[in-house]
Symmetry: C2
Subunit: 377 residues, 2 copies
């Protein structure tokens, strides 16, 4: 036995971005990744052997069914995934494993029975993953260009819509959130970007930040667009929010919009290598308070500013770092959103979100879309 | 302390179908679900409180930030998710927890430190989840109707394509896998179904069952379509595979197709409440062997029949039960695929897949799409 430690992941790379990051191999069902003594290896089902050998960025691909057969021959009646891991590790004489925080408990428990000591760490599991390479930034920007094209098409439809009786009309029928979301999602799919949970929420609905919106879109009230597709090709996400109104906003709503926009743009000026995410978030909170926008529970419902200012974007839509109450220092190469918002039932809601690349002396805004509040035809 | 056991999940319901099944609430970031003494409760971030209260099928929604504040007041400096769980459970006097197999190890380890005993079980975590209700079957069928419409549109394009020089031509350019996949995915998005990893793979590419296909589609050789979108609205999946040829297949390829088709249709006749999935799979293997189609490693590559015959379909694309070597008994209300395939580099590949609902005396085929091998214009 040695003091060395192996890194172990058991997951489906389709839904586990750390595993995809480590292997650049996409599979819908769980497989085994082990990094031991500088060698990176996979244990794959027969179904995935071929693809894994040709695509995965690892040193070796072992056959799960072969290891399983060997275990059966040795008398293990129903070898499970952890037993297969054990069989692979045994000959290498390791007992200490580093696993990601989301490592499945069922495998952890079995490995502990087999005598392994497991250690874990908080995200980022791979520290390098938060620092984007030039290629990763290009993938994110490509998804962002598609996002902008889709939102532009949607805004064109809103511009052409007619405000009447409190709602927007298009082609003789009320224009709905569902129709605009579908338009955005289809436009994105035409560019091989998969959008889910696209938000097009107006009026009262927008006051709940994760309400996706439904029914006729309101005239004269703010409508939040929040679009965050994933590229089917690169697997990287983009993320953008805009708030618009069609018709005539109240002076109070105009002021709400301007306050969010000013605070968002001020926050962006503070982003640079070494800046403290928590302080940037706190700055926005203070600015909102100073402008008279309080954050509090009213009739059992939160209003004001009750979400974080930003999050990392990459192979996950929400990944480290965070620009929030618990934010960490920003670092050159981070890609983060800056998305303050204010939500007041009765008045309405505004959220504005850009995605920026942190640089040594500032940041580069990866978003290239105007911040126009009042859409005119 | 009592002998009772609480059920605990910590996950994002966006990516964890057990949690979505239990709560019918969709959130992109992890939250806490606890079922204790007949009460089902959530602990949610401020951001999700409103939506959770109005949408989640639980008895109570607690505020994560409130529990966190209480812990800080009690002197816990950096309360983590497991500490919040502990705070909620403490007053209820429970020490035994049942968690799903994929429960994050990082939380399991902390809960064990806090004195909890964790037990887990294999999938299905919720046994009822494998038995579909009438409503669930309708959701699956709706996604399947969309799938059929999208594949039909793609097959129309293939029918109109011209075989020349070994590839298919359309509008004066070679017709590619990418173009057909995009067509299918866009058609599905128009019906609010999200398709990812759609397979349109011809010739040699199709011999790797999970190769999604790229480049010009071959004439005279088999092309596998495997389409498995998820409904954005209901979150249920559908799944269908068809194999077609445009041009003139070789007699050997025709025979390969017929063998797979016959075996698939025979397998469907065996499906009923109580049937053994492993036996159905074995029946197909035996039939292929008897027809001279061997399964073996040739030049380091698997050929023949080297995947399972079917899997459950529901909120996950692959869920219990399995119709495979390790298959379990089928039960009324299961929705399963039946998808044998044969893969021979040089000759080509065929996979045919329907989705069926297991009934007391047989099954109801949820797929309503012809099995036409040779597409003619």
């Amino acid at each position: 036995m040695t003091d060395e430690r192996a890194t172990l992941m058991i997951a489906a790379s389709e839904s586990d971005s750390n595993l995809y990051y480590a292997t650049r191999f996409m599979a819908p069902d769980p497989f085994i990744f082990i990094e031991v003594k500088g060698e990176r290896l996979l244990v794959m089902s027969d179904l995935e052997m071929d693809r894994a050998k040709s695509q995965a960025t690892v040193d070796r691909v072992l056959s799960y069914s072969e290891v399983e057969r060997r275990l059966r021959a040795e008398g293990v009646t129903e070898p499970g995934t952890a037993d297969v891991v054990h069989a692979v590790l045994q000959e290498r004489g390791l007992q200490r494993l580093l696993v990601p925080g989301n490592f499945p408990y069922i495998h952890a428990a079995r490995l502990q029975e087999l005598g392994y000591q497991l250690a874990t760490k908080k995200e980022p599991f791979f520290e390098q993953r938060v620092v984007k390479t030039g290629e990763e930034v290009r993938h994110i920007e490509a998804a962002q260009r598609a996002t902008e094209a889709a939102v532009a098409a949607a805004h064109d439809v809103l511009r052409a819509a007619i405000p009447r009786g409190g709602v927007l009309w298009s082609d003789g029928v009320p224009l709905t959130s569902e129709r605009i979301k579908q338009l955005i999602n289809v436009k994105l799919m035409e560019r091989d970007c998969v959008a889910q949970h696209t938000i097009v929420a107006g009026g009262e609905q927008a006051c709940d930040p994760h309400n996706e919106g439904s029914g006729p879109l309101p005239a004269d009230r703010s409508i939040i667009f929040d679009v965050f597709p994933r590229s089917g090709q690169s697997r990287y996400f983009a993320d953008m929010s805009r708030t618009v109104v069609r018709g005539t906003p109240s002076p109070e709503l105009r002021r709400l919009y301007q306050t969010v926009k000013d605070s968002q743009e001020e926050a962006i000026t503070k982003i640079r290598d070494g800046a403290d995410g928590a302080k940037i978030h706190q700055g926005i909170c203070a600015r909102f308070e100073a402008a008279g926008y309080r954050t509090e529970l009213v009739n059992g419902r939160m209003q004001g500013y009750f979400h974080g200012t930003g999050h990392g974007v990459g192979l996950d839509i929400h990944e480290p770092p965070r620009i929030s109450r618990t934010g960490s220092p920003l670092q050159e190469g981070h890609v983060v959103t800056v998305e303050p918002g204010l939500y007041y039932p009765g008045l309405g809601a505004v959220r504005i979100e850009d995605m920026v690349l942190v640089t040594r002396n500032g940041c580069r805004n990866l978003t290239n879309y105007p911040k126009t509040f009042e859409l005119e035809c």
